[in-house]
Amino acid sequence: MSKAKFLKGASRRSMLQQFGAAAIGISFAGGLSACGRGGGGSTVNFYNWDTYIGPTTLDDFREATGTTVNMSLFATNDELFARLRAGNPGYDVIVPSNEFVTRMSQAQMIQELDRSLIPNFANLAPEFQDAPFDPGRRYSVPYTWLTLGIAYRKSAMPANFVPDSWRYLFDSPQFTQRIAVLSESADLIRLCAKYKGISLNNIPDATLTEIEQMLIRQKPHIKAFHEDDGQDLLVAGEVDVVLEYCGDIAQVVSEHGDAEYGWVIPREGTLINQDCLCIPVGAPNVAGAHAFINYLLDAEAGQKIAEEIQYPTPNAAARALMPEEYKNNPIIFASPEVMAVSEYGAFEGDERARLYEEIFTRISAA
């Protein structure tokens, strides 16, 4: 009887309000503790992607220099941007992708690097020592680079068939309901532009309308929009062709063998991304940040990282130390012919991003 009375007394509105207050209180406490951790002495706060570091890298750095690295994780560039948007909560080193390097440098959220404190810059392969999205490499140094391509289940393909065109994802009913693509609006639209044979930057409006119509027509054949877990969908048997990043598929193939799963970058070319190390404005330990970035560009440290994460490395010295299966792995390092027709995606302003998002909303709602 008393239990019933208690339930009767708490009204829905106050219960909802209390849930909301508790949620906000908990997230605020988390934010405060993050602030308290940074600053002063020998710590460096590192904001990184998940599973994007070697198993002993941070400990090795501490042994070499005495500086402790506190690593926190984020899942998408948008999360990184949203975290730093209202001011730096105490991070020293962050890892944005190429487009976000441009965006954050324009928004004055990252500071220029002092190259004299990063002598290991010379370890980088010549093609990575400059970048179209960061002329002169003033704000960033490359950490890894990655390509998008099609991963497929060999047993579901017709004999000797390789889906080497974006058509099989975006414009063909051949693999109906066995396709998964990334839910990133910009990536989808840019790859469709590549399929149509034009540059993925500065897409004209008429082409955007064509791309929207094409994706709306293709939508019944696409099973799911995945959020970077396409390789799990492929392995679980949900789909047969999936749009994914090279490193994820390299891991799948090394686990399951290449008899079952294949990877191809379509002949029309693809989007190249580069994850870069930057120092946000307001970093509490700028000297430590430079030292840590320099350490990550060291040949041996780079080798251990590449061994663990299996993504292509821009560090020529680290690549030289890697075993043959890595250096000659066609999944990890795309062929020169494909690289010749592939491009980096440029940041084209917030208005463009909003336009792409609205296109994606229309495609999803159609």
Partner: protein, 301 residues
């Protein structure tokens, strides 16, 4: 004995002050800031200018977004109706169980509720996918039926085709019902538990059958409980984000997914705030309707 707060104002103020302050500081003020954003404009990548413009609301009321609102309302409504149909018998069963069983049954309903929403949704994925438990069970039944048919001389059934239970709107509704069932059962149970049993006995004595008693006597008496259960299921289901994201297919987008994209990739906080507040105004209307039903029931009861 209940005491009106007017009789002990100092004690009431002392106890009420900390939670009210907390609510004010961490709930009302941030919500007020977001409400101010709805009248703002983006200038530059990180700054918002408060210009008192209604452009964000105008854009949020475009047919594209109204359509998504409508679809979210339909999905949330379907979820609520299913929760009601499943939850009412469950609440009845718990309310009329022996006191010892009552505690255990309530615990059974609430236990999944204490598990993280993300983990429960992933568990549903493991159950519903093509290599999931539902398909395993059906495949086993299919193969046994096939074996049985060869035994009695008929042609065996063909290869088992797994059911596609995931990445479509059905999966989203299943997921939403699974997640929101405790929200429906608990207020219903509370209303049924404090219902006067003698009225039911009187109805049965006067010759009405059991089903008729439930329809004509129990349901109207439990109406406030039903109203609050419906409200507390409908509103979270309307704003559901995780379930359509993880379980849904290419056209399972709900309004919360659109709002999330405005705050993240599109970097358009005023517009995201306007969409969120349209959702909130809908919520206020629903709460007002529920309060109206409650007051009517109290006046009658």
């Amino acid at each position: 004995m209940e005491q009106s707060w007017k009789q002990a104002k100092a004690a009431f103020a002392a106890i009420a002050a900390p939670p009210v302050l907390w609510l004010l500081l961490f709930f009302l003020i941030p919500i007020a800031v977001i409400w101010a954003y709805t009248f703002g404009e983006n200038v530059g990548p990180v700054t918002i200018d408060f210009t008192g413009t209604f452009a964000n609301y105008a854009r949020a009321l475009e047919p594209l977004y109204l359509g998504i609102f409508g679809k979210s309302i339909v999905v949330a409504g379907l979820t609520t109706v299913l929760c009601l149909i499943i939850g009412f018998p469950v609440a009845l069963a718990i309310a009329f169980a022996s006191p010892k069983m009552k505690a255990w049954l309530l615990l059974l309903i609430m236990l999944p509720f204490w598990t993280n929403l993300l983990i429960r949704t992933f568990a549903l994925i493991a159950v519903l996918r093509e290599q999931g438990y539902v398909n395993f069970a059906l495949e086993w039944l299919w193969n046994n039926a096939s074996g049985f048919m060869t035994l009695i001389g008929l042609a065996p059934l063909g290869e088992y085709e797994p059911l596609t239970l995931l990445y479509n709107n059905t999966a989203v509704v299943i997921g939403l019902v699974y997640v929101h069932l405790p929200f429906m059962v608990l207020p219903l149970y509370s209303a049924l538990d404090r219902m006067d049993r003698s009225l039911m006995e009187a109805s049965l004595d006067l010759g009405a059958g059991h089903l008729r008693t439930i329809w004509a006597v129990v349901v109207p008496l439990a109406a406030p409980g039903i109203a609050s259960g419906v409200l507390i299921t409908f509103i979270p289901a309307l704003g559901a984000y995780l379930t359509p994201d993880l379980l849904g297919g290419t056209d399972s987008q709900m309004i919360a997914n659109v709002i999330e994209r405005q705050f993240k990739r599109a970097n358009d906080w005023p517009f995201g705030a306007a969409l969120s507040f349209l959702l909130m105004y809908l919520t206020f209307i629903a709460i007002a309707a529920q309060a109206f039903v409650q007051r009517k029931a109290e006046r009658r009861g």
